[in-house]
Symmetry: C2
Subunit: 338 residues, 2 copies
């Protein structure tokens, strides 16, 4: 059986209170007893029980990580990598991440994840777009919350956000610099704040160069930002018979679909149509040609979310801190030859 605090107390000839104080590094304990107790702890290979601690302190050392089903199941490892970054940072901080998914659409009768109901977590990280009803339900528990990649209005929450506006701006500027002027934009769910911001950045870049924004070469109503829909959007775009010389896809998944369509139609990338994506997922380099994109530091984002959460748990950060993570242009052959 595992040793308990009593065993340590007995072995070290002190009270359990003293042991507890030593465990928690209380300063008002003499060096000798501290040493004595620590020796007993080491000798018995003692570790305090998480449950017991949790019961009395109300702290579990766990952080909930909530993702919608569709984000979780995306084939491109975008949110997965954010999770990995979070897990990595959590380990450093001696915390654990409990991951769970929720439905993408709220339905009546929906129950919150068990870990919030049963208080198995100290705080919750919400990643990507989350139904507002669920956010409201969650608000009733006074759990620290950190949003990731979802910019809901209001100021009473913390968030780690991607600099989507600048990303959109940079991507479009890059295409402009390579001499392209008829730049199409494709997306799904333009109401998503992240996508909207990318779109705004794109518009701003055009505006700066004095190029008139043309809604007719923008597709923003595909139903999900996946490969198929990228393929589909490219098809729709070219069916219109507009002369475009570049496509800026709101994410790499769609860009990959675009590339596939262009390859089928034997349209030269980037000479005839340049393509740029957004996210920088693993498989971009496998494409032919490799896909230019805007790198989003996914691992870091996960890490930042956990850091922020930890600060909030220690009351070192206000519950409304926002972190804006910069992005970076990655030039590959889908936009520049050589």
């Amino acid at each position: 059986m595992n040793p308990t605090i009593k065993d340590i107390a007995k072995l070290a000839n002190v009270s359990i209170a003293t042991v507890s104080l030593v465990i928690n590094n209380n300063k008002r304990i003499s060096p000798e007893t501290k040493k004595k107790v620590n020796k007993a702890i080491k000798d018995l290979n003692y570790h305090p029980s998480g449950s017991a601690r949790g019961l009395v302190s109300g702290k579990t050392g766990n952080i909930g990580f909530i993702l919608t089903n569709d984000h979780f199941l995306r084939s491109e490892p975008f949110y997965t990598r954010i999770f990995l970054g979070a897990e990595f940072e959590a380990r450093e901080k001696q915390l654990y991440i409990l991951l769970t998914t929720i439905p993408s659409e709220y339905k009546k009768g929906y129950k919150l994840p068990r870990f919030v109901l049963e208080r198995n977590i100290d705080g919750v990280i919400l990643v990507g777009k989350i139904p507002s009803q669920i956010i409201n339900l969650l608000r009733k528990y006074d759990l620290p919350m950190v949003f990731v990649d979802y910019d809901i209005p209001g100021d009473e929450h913390s968030a780690v956000l991607i600099d989507n506006f600048n990303g959109g701006l940079t991507a479009a500027n890059h295409l402009l610099e390579t001499g392209k002027t008829k730049i199409a934009f494709i997306a799904a769910d333009i109401e998503h704040p992240s996508i909207k911001n990318r779109f705004e950045g794109y518009k701003k870049a055009l505006e700066d160069k004095g190029i008139k924004f043309d809604q007719s070469i923008c597709i923003t109503d595909e139903n999900y930002p996946a490969r198929d829909n990228g393929y589909n959007a490219a098809k729709r775009l070219l069916k219109k018979n507009k002369k475009i010389d570049a496509i800026f896809a709101c994410n790499d998944a769609m860009a990959i679909g675009v590339m596939q369509y262009l390859k089928e139609k034997e349209i030269k990338v980037p000479e005839e149509i340049a393509v740029i994506g957004f996210d920088d997922v693993e498989s971009d380099v496998l494409l032919d040609p490799p896909l230019s994109t805007i790198n989003v530091p996914k691992i870091e984002i996960g890490g930042e979310a956990v850091k922020l959460m930890e600060q909030m748990l220690k009351k070192k950060a206000h519950a409304n801190k926002k972190i804006l993570v910069p992005v970076e242009l990655i030039k590959r052959k889908s936009t520049v030859n050589e």
Copy 2:
């Protein structure tokens, strides 16, 4: 504040013991009181505290999921998808997965993950190759263990294993059926049971066709089964100036590297050299030509591991049950034209 069992007892006019019995579905409770109590539970939106429950029952409802660092950081989402499968199944079973990584190499002074030391889990799933010293440390805690994709000798553990032998056999047979006879095999860490079994399957297929096994076209000493090393292995293979007409890579990551090398050398796939991998990772279809492979049902494997764990926790399964998961040939253009 969250309601406790006392609040329910008060509201329902019963003792807390009765409430507890109702929660745990004890049969010797009258339908009326049961109804009364359940109403109170619903009215107050009560959920028992995980910590309190854990403290007294010794059960946490959490399962540890242990992966080595390098597996975790692999760019191909293989183990990640097994994790997703586990998480998916866990949710069904009202369990939570705590993921953590451990070093790939054991070092003295290594401490087990906090969740085992602090008894935050009821059982542990070990995925991929795990240093034996760590396995031994873990054995001291009497936690149910399920191994995944790692076939350690002995019978005192449960495992979910991939049918690697048949996979290797199938892959090689497929190449043979397309008329290839000089089939190279490339791998890293041939001591890994999974890889060894793939190799054995390959050998068996050759033997069945009466083709003599040729060690000189097998490379089994690359240091890690990643893209770079696949590239490297292909290079080494072709430098030898042997006439080979197919390459069977021990996994897709290496196969992707092979494809890259062949493309650079302008060697036609599959006409001159056919290529087949193993795993069926997402990006296979993006390659040019798309990569034939052996599909490993990653999501299912994670799910099976959790199911098995749950059975063990409920004592419905012996602690030495082995599950062998079948694999499937996926024909794509890297081995067959048309």
